[in-house]
């Protein structure tokens, strides 16, 4: 008999990391399903293919998406939005504090743009803060990660809006400099203010996962 726990764990690593109990439940379902097909007289290979088909392809994607959505949306305000917004406030505070002239700011240069390295280095603290605040409210692992990443998501929305407005305006402002500056910024701003912050915040959330956890009723 196939080891369905192992198979589910292999196919649905994300779910396994989030909820081992859920993957065990799915494995039990597949085990029953496989045995029922064998009882119906299907050849072993066909029964296996039909059973594993339930967690492959679009079913696999749906399973992960539905699970994560359910996880995220349960107590979303308390477990994701509030911790995430507090984290965003901390991210904003650090950025403003570093932007003040009397605080030395280390920067690196990339493709002609100024990237706030010091700010990035502080973001793991913010990421950990978001995860820990969510944890205090009983947030699950996907919710803790979402709370850590909320500032990057907010920045991402701002960046998309700014570029959308910028490109719309560049049609009316008929100057080559405007368009080229926007295109140049496109290579700098999203990585500097969305992708790298997300990566550093995720690092912080990962560190927070190592922290001892109080059992939550």
């Amino acid at each position: 008999m196939p080891d369905w726990k192992q198979i589910v764990h292999k196919h649905l690593r994300v779910l396994g990391a989030c909820s081992p109990e859920f993957t065990e439940e799915l494995a039990a379902h597949l085990e029953d399903s496989h045995e029922a097909l064998l009882r119906e007289g299907l050849p072993a290979e066909l029964a296996f293919q039909q059973t594993i088909g339930q967690i492959e392809g679009r079913y696999r994607v749906w399973l992960v998406v539905r699970f994560l959505l359910e996880e995220l949306m349960t107590g979303f305000i308390r477990k994701v939005a509030v911790p995430g917004l507090l984290t965003s406030a901390a991210v904003g505070f650090f950025y403003c504090a570093l932007a003040l002239d009397h605080i030395p700011r280390r920067v690196i240069w990339l493709a002609g743009g100024q990237l706030p390295l010091s700010w990035w280095c502080l973001l793991p603290i913010c990421g950990a803060l978001g995860a820990l605040l969510s944890q205090r409210k009983g947030g699950s692992r996907p919710q803790r990660i979402a709370a850590s990443l909320l500032p990057s998501a907010i920045l991402g929305i701002f960046v998309v809006l700014i570029f959308a407005v910028g490109f719309t305006m560049s049609r009316s402002v008929n100057h080559y400099w405007w368009g080229s500056a926007l295109l140049e910024s496109l290579g700098i701003v999203p990585p500097a203010f969305v992708l790298m912050p997300a990566a550093f915040s995720l690092l912080g959330a990962g560190i927070a996962e190592l922290a001892p956890r109080n059992p939550i009723a």
Binding site: E21, H29, I55, F67, E70
Partner: protein
């Protein structure tokens, strides 16, 4: 048999599961199979729709799940209807009855 619109399926799924669990506790696979059998295959649950829904019902405290050891040494997560879940059945049935009666008035179809 004509396929049923996905949204109607989603809406009816909770009532179907709660009604089934009102009779006796079942685990996920049994729930899916019994609903499929009792509806002649019109309501079919894949894992992606069944388990997130069961967990949602559990979070609403309408059902309670607990692991049970089977005689063959395996474990199954059995869902049992709670008192709160039992209270939901009558309002849900009333909503669906009202929906079908409204539909009947418009389309003229008769319940079997």
């Amino acid at each position: 048999m004509a396929s049923v619109n996905a949204q109607i399926k989603r809406g009816s799924a909770e009532l179907a599961v709660l009604t089934l669990l009102a009779e006796h506790p079942l685990h996920g696979y049994e729930i899916a199979k019994q609903i499929e059998a009792q509806t002649g295959g019109v309501l079919c649950f894949d894992m992606a729709s069944l388990y997130p829904m069961l967990h949602r019902l559990e979070r609403k405290s309408w059902v309670k799940a607990e692991w049970q050891a089977l005689p063959n040494g395996r474990r199954r997560r059995c869902y049992r209807l709670t008192a709160s879940g039992r209270k939901q059945i009558a309002p849900l049935r009333a909503q669906w009855r009202a929906f079908f009666q409204a539909l009947q008035r418009v389309t003229g179809f008769q319940n079997a």
